[in-house]
Amino acid sequence: MKWSDAHISEVLVIGAGLAGERVAIEAALNGHEVTILSLVPPRRSHSTAAQGGMQASLGNVAMGYGDNPDIHFEDTVKGSDWGCDQEVARLFVELAPVAVRQMSHWGVPWSRVVAGKKTLPDGTEIEDLAEKAGLIAQRQFGGTAKWRTCFAADGTGHVLQYAMDSVVTKLGVTIHDRMEAIRLIHNGQTCYGAVALCLRTGTLRPYLAKAVVIATGGYGRIYGTSTNAVINEGTGMGLALDTGVVPLGNMEAVQFHPTGIVPANILVTEGCRGDGGYLLDKNLHRFMLDYEPVKKEVASRDVVSRWMLHHIHRGFGVDSPYGPHLWLDIRHLGAEHICTNLREVQTICKNFLGCDPTESLIAVRPTQHYSMGGVRTNRDGGAYGLKGLFAAGEAACWDLHGFNRLGGNSLAETIVAGMVVGEKVADFAREQSLSFPFALVVEAVAAQQQRLDDLRSHLGGSEDVFALRRRMEETLLDKVGIFRTGPALTEAVATLEDLYQRAANLRLRSSGIGPNPELFAALRLPGMLRLALCISQGALQRTESRGSHYREDYPKRDDENWLTRTLAYWPPGAEMPELKYEPVNITTLPPGSRGYGEMAITGD
């Protein structure tokens, strides 16, 4: 390693999605020199794929009149099945309206309120008042008492990311894309930066900073079948876990979205159901009326996904070469509505299903979508266990979502957390002076160089990276999905443990020279398996059902024993995670009824 290769800044942000860029902006506005590392150009981040919208209690539309942060708070806590940190949720709901309006100031073309009388698909007559005309429009999403989700047609994530990145560009923040952080540089107490791998050349470079922020999104790809982008491999969570001192929170809380299309596993937005779409079975029966007479298709995602899979298990799925699925029907919303507010849905259906949703049904099935768990942080976004390390967005367990996230709360979280954590990062960096233990940096780079050299020398080993990876994906999908049982989880843990040991003996089939995708996959696999083990072991140990974590052998929520957050550590050299637990912070809303998902799931 040459010292001239080292890149030094005050704040290093890993990940250039909405959360990472919002943190970077806050730090830059506070006068800090900021560098962002990203696997891809920022505008290709997975944040751009979010279609539906961003929750904030503006109360601008007829069905949202009277909305306020208190109601948003209550919806969020109920949605989380009382797993979230209520102080964080309170902070979040107060700031979400500011975040939405600031994004408007930065150029987001939010859809706007059009005054007048309207008839909803169910026949309800409403009137949007003239005094609200031109303010930011809002639509219905699942698990909410009011229409609260701000949107820009159905490309909300895209326009948010483009506006955010335009501010990053304006402020002159340094972006190094195609750069992957593969190891944090730390001494067990303080984080000094990261060793990064250049995905253009396959070479290493140390990045040093006063504060390091992990904002790398979720890990959906370890499930293989996921709505997530192919870059969502949980690399940032892996970085934190690898330190041995930073825990991951609630990794067993995995969200399955009700409407991934079959077979492409691409998401169509919750806005389809929020705007009045139906879920139908093979007899074209609207089955959600049977299970959720009140919330129908717009109960929370965990509940709707569970009922869908249950209904399929009862034999009401539509058979296809790709397994059984159900139908999403939006035809009755009308071509005009679909061509504007659900336009990307129409495009996705045309491109990947060859059908037009104004005339045809859409084949859907619950699909892995979101990780409520992540790098456990305090309210300021500071990671447990390591000074100078922060996390924000889906990569973090801040813990806004508990055991189930509401639709529209993730876009909102990325930006609100970016504001809050960005400010704390800026304060932290202001008080620190730059100093680095040179030996530690040299050692960290050398250790990673050794991993690269070993793989490129093809010495020893016999395991194929793609084969092991596929086995991991199948195991999680089959045994750590929507319905979980003790025996299946035990098998999953055993299989993953075996795969983890075998992943120490990889052998590349190609040279591994230059920007080699097999080498990159090999470097990532052990970290992905560690995450898979944290998820599976956490799910096995949690003998209750809460939010998205549903145990058929323990179908009830157990507040007496499990009003806790799982903390998974990976001690150096360990073969399994070490689980600890901490109490969940309840401030104003004690555990009670969610108002949906309460009918017992029983066979026929």
Binding site: R44, P109, L135, V230, F352
Partner: protein, 243 residues
């Protein structure tokens, strides 16, 4: 569907091994129902040559990562289905952009440079008031901005552009559309004359030679021809009237 054996003829070059010159390499694959180039390329990588370089991110045609020349035409690989192609499929990297390796090109740096050069952000003297309401906008205006904002910076219009292939400094349809986006937006307070400084030249709106491949090939179906005409007319007016 009859089972076909597909032949992929793929451009190969790894800059880390310059002693091996650029070449075309053939791979064969049995077609499956609904196979996209995303599925095909990943299968080739996993089953035949794990060193094959290409870029995908969202695989849902919203991120713009996978632009390449498919049988000579720029397009997004993720939404291209093999059933719409013949048995022999030629894949080349997009021209104009710097090659990373094989089918992977560096669009990120190119687009970032032009976002800086065209100052593609809202210019305003208004200060954000965290306690105030949002500024109002009528919904049709919001939709018109959204229409232009739908560009995903995939680079297909640039790879397809005769001018961009001939002159390095041409900003291309992607950025003429981006200029239109800010001209439409009432929040952007830049005078048109300021924008003329940036694009009223041969590197900008007057460099287009009108072949319109950009309009034909835009994967987002943005009406680039109309956007270009809009910017051109605005700029011509500025030139004539000086405002």
């Amino acid at each position: 569907m009859a089972e076909r054996l597909l032949t992929f003829d793929i451009f190969r070059y790894n800059p880390a091994t310059p002693e091996i010159p650029p070449r075309m390499q053939e791979f064969q694959l049995e077609e499956t129902v609904g196979m996209s180039l995303f599925i095909a390329l990943n299968r080739i990588r996993e089953e035949q040559d794990p060193s094959l370089m290409f870029d995908f991110v969202c695989r849902a045609a919203v991120c713009g990562s996978c632009g390449m020349l498919i049988n000579g035409r720029p397009g997004l690989a993720c939404k291209t289905l093999t059933q719409d192609l013949g048995e022999k499929i030629t894949l080349m990297p997009l021209p104009v952009f710097k090659l990373v390796g094989d089918l992977s090109v560096d669009t990120g740096v190119w687009f970032r440079y032009l976002n800086v050069r065209t100052e593609a952000w809202i210019h305003t003297d208004q200060v954000f008031d965290p306690k105030g309401l949002e500024e109002r906008m009528d919904n049709p205006t919001a939709h018109r901005i959204y229409e232009a904002e739908r560009c995903i910076e995939c680079g297909c219009c640039i790879g397809a552009c005769a001018t961009a292939n001939m002159r390095e400094d041409f900003i291309g349809a992607a950025f003429l559309n981006r200029i239109a986006r800010f001209l439409i937006d009432p929040r952007d307070e830049r005078p048109a004359a300021h924008i003329f400084e940036v694009v009223g030249t041969d590197e900008g709106v007057f460099g287009c030679i009108g072949l319109m491949a950009c309009d034909d090939l835009c994967p987002m179906e943005i009406p680039l021809q109309g956007q270009l005409a809009y910017v051109r007319r605005k700029m011509a007016l500025v030139a004539l009237r000086g405002k």
